[in-house]
């Protein structure tokens, strides 16, 4: 393999109904190159390693600094953001394919809208009474703020769902991201007012009881969110809520 070039294999699929295929590319090596730069090079010269003209690869990306979550894909078998996948740290040839747990749109683009729907299920917002000037929010000590901040950095990228064995066509498991968000809102002084709604959402079919405790999620999260701790904490809230409900005879 020449040092001047990078070899890449990319899984292609023109639409949800077309068959998939792999294509190989030989691309110029640039300093500080990441997987996004490889895809940009293909756009400028869409020709395979075998010299056949092809279409540019479709992919999803936006911020390119690992805060938006858009460019998540499976690179050398590992789900991660393409922007922070630096070529110099990857074994070549580099294999790039779309995430497998979401409906495919085209090439490396998948439809993650279910994750946003899941945030509706858990009522993922603080129920403020209006956006007018009503003075400051509740005081929080720095320790509470720091713990909540760690959870609030979830960028809905889908890595945790991709690696979770319980996310599969036979299950409607809500997945780690939304459970951790429920914990975030339940910990907020105002969010606590409708904590029961979130807990009850996690008690429905596809809720927290579907977690198989594989613990892959916490290892895959690019933001190092303590997802298994969140699942544990929400599990406790669910148990407590179930017991209270049972004892109060509601």
């Amino acid at each position: 393999m020449s040092d001047a070039t990078v070899k890449v294999r990319i899984k292609r699929q023109e639409s949800p109904t077309n068959p998939s295929r792999w294509e190989e590319f030989t691309l110029p090596r640039l300093p500080m190159m990441n997987v996004i730069t490889l895809l940009l090079e293909i756009q400028k010269k869409p020709v395979t390693a075998q010299g056949n003209p092809t279409s540019p690869v479709a992919w999803d990306s936006h911020c390119l600094e690992e805060v938006c979550g858009a460019c998540t894909m499976v690179i050398n078998g590992k789900v991660r953001q393409a922007c922070s996948a630096l070529v110099r740290s990857l074994t070549e040839p580099i294999s790039i394919q779309p995430m497998t747990k979401f409906p495919l749109v085209r090439d490396l683009v998948v439809d993650r809208s279910r994750m946003f729907e899941d945030l509706k299920r858990i009522r993922g917002w603080i129920p403020i009474q209006g956006t007018y000037d009503l003075g400051p929010g509740p005081r929080l000590n720095p320790t509470e703020q720091e713990a909540a901040y760690d959870l609030s950095r979830c960028m809905t990228c889908g890595c945790c769902l991709e690696v979770c064995p319980q996310i599969n066509p036979r299950s409607d498991f809500i997945g780690p991201a939304a459970i951790s968000q429920a914990r975030l809102f339940n910990a907020h002084p105002t969010g606590q007012s409708n904590a029961a709604e979130r807990i009850e959402a996690l008690m429905e079919p596809g809720g927290i009881s579907e977690c198989g405790n594989a613990q892959n999620c916490v290892r895959a999260c690019p933001k190092e969110i303590p997802l298994t701790t969140s699942i544990g904490e929400m599990g406790r809230q669910v148990t407590k809520h179930a017991l209270t409900t049972l004892l109060s005879g509601k």
Binding site: S15, P46, W125, I126, P127, D133, R139, F185
Partner: protein, 606 residues
């Protein structure tokens, strides 16, 4: 009469804030966005949001914030809207706090504030170093709540193509493209708000996200909407070099004590930590003792440029200087700047807690944008703009941490104006004949039919790179008329070569090449507004710097540039700036504001 309905284009901070206000008032909103709104470019804002809450007992006030902002913008901003923004800022920060934004706290549990450029006060509320992301998430969550209640319908991976303007010149809706199945649609509304962000991709590699092409702003400019102060482009002093993007290294790094320096001896080959303090040149502290590393961005960028390009004093003669945080305790860095240090670590490989970072200026922000009145309506009734895509708040140079603020206030004021406008409309959009919509849709369809049939030899992405290169090289930190003229010649050449493009993607499904080609034309149109606006303005003001005209010239140029589209290129007119609250004075940062002295003799607006 039917209840008014609204369209908001863009799901960043401004668009989401407007959507919430409209839904809160009981109106239905169609929200259109290129990307799922939670991934909008606002996530990239790092350092914080300004508001004079005065938690440190420094005598800060909204008036002081207003004064810093107008002074920082070199007196080009209309003052009443800036005053309104600064007056509203503390309330906006409290609102975000109530929504659950995880702002950093003091030991007492109050909001913490840090310093930023162009001020002497701790005025910037922050959530680690991912404030934009945290604010966007809070607004996204509130919009989701209205979505569940049925008042908001999102169209994600959809694109605004053009406004539908009726025979009376009123905007009645828009034509949109579904970027997944590539179908065109028309949407009716009694008010359309563009909150579509800046045009950074025109300059290629910079701090902007991939969709920041300015395509919507350019599209309406080509339909007769005025574009104002296009030549005012902010180059951020501290970005990380890269091949796909120049990632931002937030001003908050300096707000928390970061220092910029180069070795005094350019041949010094030692590792930065082995260079003793006496052999380092802290040039910002040297040149601007009053503000030091916290001079506004235009000043810092020019200084770094001067050190590297004019004096050849960059690190080992390169285009880089050190941004040094290594003297600050690790725990403080993690708590206050964790997010950005992580970015540097991931993309460069060095830990900035141990090693000074290497940075250089990069394209960051457009102060210019769609012309709006003080209440956010464009010159086309029914069409509004807010956020980076408008021109209203930042004059010739934006102060750090004022952009998140201007997005929120823009969304709030814009939504209120939309409601006022729509409820006062004699005739609602549902009574406008279908033919008005069909005509605009047909015009857009014809454009795409032409693009799909392109069979020339030119590659659109290569053309885009040439556009970016010429703009970066010639219409950036230092501007010379001869080179701007060459740039315009190049832009005309690219417009000619655009006709010889070939589409390498014939797919009917999520065809990103076809989408890009439309953006490319819109970028070329807007690039001419930026370049020719810069050519005309023979003075130096804020981010617009011409060595041949080094002084601000209020007698001739204290005025807003307004570009109107014509087939032959932009036609410029100028209008006076509203300086009713604060008389212009000399802007300098080597001394304190009070010591900077009174205005020069000729400061009257014309």
């Amino acid at each position: 009469m039917a209840k008014p309905v609204f369209i908001v284009v863009g799901g960043g901070l401004a668009g989401l804030m407007a959507t919430i206000r409209l839904a809160e008032a009981g109106f239905h909103v169609d929200l259109i966005s290129f990307v799922p709104v939670k991934r909008s470019h606002s996530v990239c804002a790092q350092g914080g949001i300004n508001g004079a809450v005065n938690v440190k007992g420094e005598g800060d006030s909204p008036w002081e914030h207003f004064d810093d902002s107008v002074y920082g913008g070199d007196f080009l901003a209309n003052q009443p809207p800036v005053k309104r923004m600064c007056d509203s800022a503390p309330g906006i920060i409290y609102l975000l706090d109530r929504m659950g934004v995880m702002f950093n706290r003091t030991a007492e549990g109050l909001l913490d504030f840090r310093r930023f450029g162009g001020t002497k006060h701790h005025r910037t509320a922050f959530a680690g170093a991912t404030t934009g992301q945290q604010m966007l998430y809070a607004l996204d969550e509130q919009v989701r709540r209205h979505e569940v209640e049925g008042l908001v319908k999102k169209y994600e991976f959809w694109e605004f193509l053009s406004a539908v303007i009726d025979g009376k010149g009123i905007c009645r809706g828009c034509v949109v493209l579904n970027q997944i199945d590539m179908t065109l649609h028309v949407m009716r509304a009694d008010g359309v708000l563009l909150a579509t962000g800046g045009p950074g991709v025109i300059f290629g590699r910079g701090t902007n996200s991939t969709t920041c092409t300015g395509t919507a702003a350019s599209a309406v400019y080509q339909q007769g909407v005025a574009y104002a102060n296009g030549e005012f482009i902010q180059v951020h002093p501290t970005a990380i070099p890269g091949t796909d993007k120049l990632r931002l290294m937030s001003e908050s790094a300096r707000g928390e004590g970061g220092r910029i320096w180069v070795p005094k001896d350019v041949k010094d080959k030692r590792a930065p930590k082995s260079i003793p303090s006496s052999e380092r040149w802290y040039f910002l502290e040297d040149w601007y003792p009053a503000y030091g590393n916290l001079v506004p961005r235009d000043i810092a960028s020019r200084a770094i440029y001067k050190v590297c390009r004019d004096m050849g004093m960059g690190i080992a003669g390169s285009d880089m200087v050190y941004l040094d945080l290594t003297h600050i305790p690790r725990a403080d860095l993690d708590r206050k700047l964790g997010g950005i240090l992580e970015i540097y670590e991931k993309f460069v490989g060095d830990d900035p807690r141990d090693e000074p970072m290497k940075i250089f200026p990069a394209y960051h922000y457009s102060m210019g944008g769609i012309w709006i009145d003080f209440d956010h309506m464009t010159n086309v009734p029914g069409l509004f703009a807010a956020g980076e895509c408008d021109y209203q708040y930042h004059g010739a140079n934006r102060l750090g941490a004022n952009s998140l603020l201007s997005c929120v206030i823009g969304g709030q004021v814009g939504a209120a104006t939309m409601i006022r406008f729509a409820t006062g409309l004699g005739k609602r959009s549902d009574t406008v004949p279908a033919a008005v919509f069909a005509a605009e849709r047909k015009r857009q369809e014809e454009i795409y039919t032409k693009i799909r049939a392109m069979e020339g030899k030119e590659n659109p992405f290569v053309l885009g790179e040439e556009l970016a290169e010429t703009m970066r090289n010639n219409v950036s930190i230092v501007r010379e008329n001869a080179r701007i003229k060459q740039t315009d010649t190049k832009l005309l050449e690219l417009m000619e070569r655009y006709r010889k493009l070939g589409v390498t993607d014939r797919g009917q499904w999520m065809n990103q090449s076809v989408v890009y080609i439309k953006h490319l034309w819109n970028m070329l149109e807007l690039a001419r507004v930026i370049a020719l606006g810069a050519l005309a303005r023979d003075e130096s003001r804020g981010a617009h710097y011409k060595p041949a005209f080094p002084e601000r010239d209020d007698a001739k140029w204290l005025k807003t540039t307004k570009a109107k589209w014509t087939a032959g290129g932009p036609a410029f007119t100028y209008e006076p700036v509203d300086i009713s609250l604060l008389p212009p004075r000399v802007r300098k940062y080597d001394v304190d504001k009070k010591a900077a002295g009174p205005a020069p003799a000729a400061t009257k607006a014309n």
